[in-house]
């Protein structure tokens, strides 16, 4: 780019790439070390005992981790789906209904979970569930259900923001055109609005899925004895000391995410070319 070359001598050519390299190092060096150690035959991090894949074997034999991973995936898929549906409704109402009665209340409640510290959200929901159990007898047992409710609640806030941003970019005249051509309201939504917000919904679902998969604090509060999510298990293991299986787990996750990101990039590129 020409302006990069122009404003370039000192700043762009030397300082900026150095700073960027430092930033990427901050992001990637810890990951890289984890990947390398996952192949260390020795259990001690300080000793290099040669290459080995034994920790992958141990990981796959560890029922506790596998069980927790399954719970986490289930919870993430359910809360992302629920959060996306509700977030879609909120974003749609906010950007298309103009003034409606509980608008301020809804927008406040929909953005507040984003700024709420996890410990506060977790504590408040746990106390709610306990009170509900005392009053209504439900939820009799905390576990997957309560985690999904908790996660869906903060996921919908993120999805609502994404959807609203997307719909504000989209001209309302496209929806008006559908009405003008004879489509009534539910039709217009499904024929025109929904396809136009599809990219936002996909992005929102993926973000929700990762947020849910990543959450330790809220799940620790609202989960019951029966259901431990993967972060909960990892956290308890990590606190006890270095466990090489976790390196293997992290490496697998990094590989999976990289493949996914590469696929997404490749598809985007293809769509861009077509």
């Amino acid at each position: 780019m020409s302006d990069a070359r122009m404003s370039g001598r000192g700043l762009s050519r030397f300082a900026l790439p150095m700073a960027a390299a430092f930033g990427f190092a901050v992001l990637y060096v810890p990951l890289a070390i984890m990947v390398i150690y996952s192949f260390n035959a020795s259990k001690l991090a300080s000793v290099w005992g040669g290459w080995s894949v034994q920790w992958y074997g141990e990981l796959l034999r560890n029922d506790q981790i596998l069980q927790a991973a399954w719970v986490s995936l289930k919870v993430a898929a359910m809360s992302a789906t629920l959060g996306t549906i509700f977030g879609c409704l909120i974003g749609y109402a906010m950007s298309r209904f103009g003034r409606f009665r509980p608008r301020l209340l809804l927008s406040g409640m929909a953005t507040a979970p984003i700024v709420m510290p996890d410990v506060v959200t977790g504590l408040s929901l746990l106390l709610l569930f306990i009170s509900m159990e005392a009053l209504l007898g439900w939820p009799a047992e905390r576990g997957v259900d309560t985690i999904v409710i908790a996660h869906a609640t903060f996921c919908m806030a993120f999805v609502a923001v994404i959807v609203q941003a997307r719909l504000t970019d989209v001209d309302t005249s496209v929806e008006e055109a559908a009405m003008d051509l004879g489509a009534r309201q539910p039709r217009v939504f499904f024929d025109v609005t929904l396809p136009m917000m599809a990219p936002a919904l996909v992005a929102g679902w993926l973000l929700s899925f990762t947020l849910s998969l990543d959450d330790l604090v809220i799940a620790s509060f609202v989960s019951g004895p029966g259901a431990s999510t993967l972060p909960m298990v990892v956290f308890s293991k990590v606190r006890l000391g270095v466990t090489p299986e976790i390196n293997a787990l992290a490496t697998l996750l990094i590989v999976l995410v990289s493949i996914f990101v590469a696929l997404a990039a490749w598809r985007m590129r293809k769509a861009g070319k077509a």
Binding site: D171, S173, V174, E176, A177, A178, M179, D180, L181, G182, A183, R184, R187, D191, V192, P195, M196, A198
Partner: protein
């Protein structure tokens, strides 16, 4: 005030009021966007609503389409009350300024969308889509998505989509504003051809007076929510109702003056601005001494070194202040002793007219008796 005698115009195809807008008012937050408008449009007309931004023309169009409901008044289409009918049940279709094509549907599916809402049989829909795409010469691009089309092609898809349902009237919101100048001129004529073929009533909203003049059988000029004048293009230009119209449609010289003689066939006006008397070849009901404004179009001005001979509408001596050479025409700006500036447009008939008046030269401006129009407001 009596309207000046009108010369013959293009007659509308039918006298019946096909679209009737009666006493319609629409306010937004206390702002009167449309202020008590009544208007009849005949079947088969191309009616242009001309006005600046915020004049209320788009609001009026959106009320015809059903996107806004009037606060009061009535809208009828083909004899049926449409005032509170929702957009999906109205027999009119709209071509949006942004075209509003469905980005996720192919050209053919865009055009078919309205027909599908009517649950027509599939074969009928396909046939109609094909006819429409042929009409706008896009039959080879039926499977493209909107983002793969040029601006002009998108405009045609929007047109085909809006016409596919055979609407009783087509509403066009700034139909050509997104196209570049050359394409806009071509498209104007195509639009007129298509209207001629189908005979559909067109209502066009535009801020471009040239576009309105070319397309419209009649033009309604809007300002601040009101319809100021409704007339055929020629009448609008030659017989503007007031100074606003005279100035808005084309460019004009306006001389303020007082009536000194008021007969049935002519009018004399003393004008300080001109520094002389103005003669107008039409009568008008007004009082002696009343202030009127005389409008003279720049192309009707004569510019000579010598004083004009024979009867004139008005004449004055001034100094050439500026000349703008435009190729086919030259625009002159002449300052009169009163300080008023007069615009005159001269056709450049020779390649190099050495005799043409030049900067700082003292010249006579004048106009024939039939050129000026007296305005009361």
């Amino acid at each position: 005030m009596t309207a000046p005698a009108s010369p013959p115009t293009r007659a509308p195809k039918s006298d019946r009021a096909f679209i009737r807008i009666a006493d319609v008012v629409k306010t937004f937050d206390g702002f009167r966007a449309v202020d008590n408008i009544s208007l009849d449009v005949a079947e088969g007309e191309i009616f242009c609503l001309l006005g600046g931004s915020g004049s209320g023309k788009s609001t009026l169009l959106r009320m015809l389409a059903g996107f806004e409901t009037p606060d009061s008044g009535r809208i009828e289409i083909d004899g049926q009350d449409m005032t509170s009918v929702p957009p999906w049940d109205r027999p009119v279709n709209m071509m949006f300024q942004s075209y509003a094509l469905f980005p996720h549907m192919s050209v053919a599916r865009n055009v078919a969308y309205g027909l599908k809402q009517d649950r027509l049989p599939k074969s009928e829909i396909e046939a109609q889509v094909k006819r429409m795409l042929e009409l706008v010469k896009l039959d080879t691009l039926a499977h493209r998505k909107p983002h793969q089309l040029s601006g002009g092609q998108r405009q045609r898809v929007a047109l085909a989509r809006a016409l596919a349902k055979k609407p009783k009237a087509l509403l066009l919101d700034e139909p050509l504003s997104a196209l570049d100048k050359k394409l806009r001129e071509e498209t104007q004529f195509e639009l007129m051809d298509i209207q001629d073929t189908l005979g559909t009533t067109f209502i066009v909203v535009t801020h471009d007076q040239e576009e309105a003049m070319t397309l419209g059988t009649r033009i309604g000029v809007m300002d601040q929510g009101r319809l100021v004048q409704v007339d055929a293009p020629r009448d609008l230009y030659e017989y503007p109702k007031n100074r606003f119209i005279a100035d808005f449609v084309g460019s004009v010289n306006i001389f303020e003056g007082q009536v000194t003689e008021d007969e049935s066939d002519h009018l004399r006006v003393g004008s300080q601005a001109l520094g002389g008397e103005i003669y107008i070849d039409h009568g008008m009901s007004c009082q002696l001494g009343q202030t009127v404004w005389v409008a003279v179009r720049p192309e009707k001005m004569r510019l000579r070194r010598e004083a004009p001979e024979g009867p004139v509408g008005g004449a004055a001596q001034g100094v050439v202040e500026d000349i703008a050479y435009m190729g086919g025409l030259s625009h002159y700006r002449v300052v009169l002793p009163s300080g008023q500036r007069v615009r005159a447009t001269l056709a450049n008939r020779d390649r190099h007219d050495a005799d043409a008046p030049t900067w700082e030269e003292t010249v006579w401006i004048s106009w024939p008796p039939a050129a000026g129009v007296a305005l009361l407001s």
